[in-house]
């Protein structure tokens, strides 16, 4: 095993180009577990800790450019306004110690369906900034997950940042685990309201081979909200709409039975979380609308 310690992003890209099998390590919260338990012996470890810019973020007009290694703790503390869904998701990651080390780049690189950030990224809308010595490209989050623990990165590419749309409406995130802290998701659900485009987006974790959106559910809800004039009248979403949305979210799952939970439970739980997060976000939207518009 060789330990590569690039001092800059350019050096990191060069190293990855020279050694495409090199395994990037930043927070170490996935890679080191695999090494400690003898599940993996990479030829090269590519340490990204010395590349300081990976731990920085920029808040732009439309989106936040979030460095791949920005620790979850920082997202929780600093980006709750811009990225509320991701901030909530970050708070569910493992433990304080892990949140101090791990970042979204690691979740994306590992591309485990159980990664906590994925549903929030899918719901908010995001692009992954991948770079190699050949150049930079932005991969839409919907095209990023290609299979169980597989992603759209080329062997010589590294994740530099994620561009996440700034919230234009309420966002929520829920995760089911069998412990009240420090737990891997049995399944998870992210929901973002986008009042500017009058759309909703979803993200489902741990209930399919990859993180997925519940597109049929989104389309249904977009249409129902539109038809009922809900975005304007700010009415309570009817239980039948919420139920239909929840059912369609359940139907978007393609889960398995494993030690953490059964497939049918995952489908069920995703439906419950979909209904609850819809209620929370919509109530928040109504409250905000009422406040800003001065309507009782």
């Amino acid at each position: 095993m060789d330990f590569l310690r690039p001092a800059s992003w350019e050096e990191a890209l060069a190293a990855k180009a020279e050694h495409p099998t090199a395994v990037p390590i930043a927070g170490g919260t996935d890679v080191m577990v695999e090494i400690n338990f003898d599940h993996r012996r990479p030829e090269y470890l590519l340490d990204l800790n010395r590349v300081g810019e990976l731990s920085e973020w920029e808040v732009g007009e439309e989106s936040v450019r979030l460095g791949a290694s920005v620790p979850y703790t920082r997202i929780m503390e600093n980006l709750r306004g811009e990225l509320p869904g991701l901030a909530l998701a970050s708070h569910t990651v493992a433990s304080p110690q892990i949140r101090n080390r791990g970042g979204v780049g690691g979740n994306l690189g590992t591309a485990s369906p159980a990664g906590d950030a994925h549903p929030a990224l899918l719901a908010a809308g995001a692009e992954v900034e991948a770079e190699s010595v050949r150049g930079t490209r932005l991969i839409p989050i919907d095209a990023f997950y290609t299979g169980v623990k597989r992603n759209a990165l080329a062997p010589d590419e590294l994740i530099r940042a994620v561009h996440i749309k700034k919230a234009d409406g309420p966002q929520q995130y829920s995760k089911v685990g069998t412990r009240n802290a420090m737990v891997i998701a049995v399944c998870a659900f992210g929901l973002a309201l986008h009042p500017e485009t009058r759309t909703v987006r979803t993200g489902i974790g741990s209930a399919a081979p990859t993180p997925v959106r519940a597109k049929a559910a989104e389309e249904f809800l977009n249409a129902a909200l539109d038809e009922g004039g809900f975005w304007d009248n700010g009415k309570i979403i009817t239980p039948s709409v919420a139920k239909q949305f929840a059912d369609l979210c359940s139907a978007a799952c393609n889960p398995i039975d494993d030690v953490r939970g059964t497939a049918s439970y995952r489908r069920h739980a995703v439906g419950i979380m979909a209904r609850r997060t819809l209620t929370w976000t919509w109530e928040s939207y109504r409250g905000t609308a009422a406040h800003t518009e001065g309507v009782a």
Partner: protein, 194 residues
């Protein structure tokens, strides 16, 4: 490979380090600092918690090569760390939240981390003893580092705050009640001292 870094204020050099070794292994097996504990080696118990550039992390998940040039504080250096913090004003103002950035700027001074001698205990260490929060003690070092850092950020925590801050540290002996007592005790003594 060779790794140079600072532990408890003292420069350290580890040689012939295998690239897959963790910071925890280097501390325990190469530097004679076994206070940080090897309970799960997968980031699920917090027993190996140390401060890396001021930030509490699981040292089992930090690759040894990643600590080159960085500052580590272990339980062996906790008393001295707390003493210096107190001398530097620490929490005296009552507004002693420490951000990750501020924490990273902290620098330690040398002390004899091998014997831990010359040492008074830090307030959190004393509180753990007094409250009966120590049984087998294997979780204790990690809990102390985590609890000390929490009290640095949040000197008047609610019970829910304490539970959240320590939710990454497993204890199998105590049922956590005496650990809660210890942290409350340390917080109360801290505020009395102001």
């Amino acid at each position: 490979m060779r790794v140079n870094f600072t532990v408890n204020g003292r420069p350290q050099e580890a040689d012939d380090v295998w690239e897959g070794e963790s910071l925890l292994y280097v501390l325990r097996e190469r530097l004679g600092l076994p206070g940080s504990k090897n309970a799960c080696e997968q980031g699920e118990c917090g027993s190996c918690t140390v401060r890396l550039d001021g930030v509490p992390v699981c040292s089992c998940l930090v690759a040894a090569g990643q600590v080159e040039g960085r500052e580590v504080v272990t339980v062996e250096g906790l008393a001295e760390f707390a003493k210096q913090r107190a001398e530097h004003g620490g929490c005296a103002t009552g507004s002693c939240g420490t951000s990750l950035d501020e924490a990273r700027r902290w620098e330690s001074k040398p002390q004899d981390s091998h014997t831990g001698e010359g040492g008074e205990l830090s307030p959190i260490q004393q509180a753990f003893i007094d409250a009966g929060a120590v049984q087998c003690g294997f979780c204790t070092p990690g809990l102390l580092v985590a609890a000390d850092e929490m009290l640095e950020r949040n000197p008047t925590p609610t019970d829910a705050d304490i539970r959240e801050a320590l939710s990454g540290n497993l204890c199998r002996c105590t049922g956590y009640e005496k650990i809660m007592d210890a942290v409350r005790l340390a917080a109360a003594r801290q505020s009395e001292a102001v």
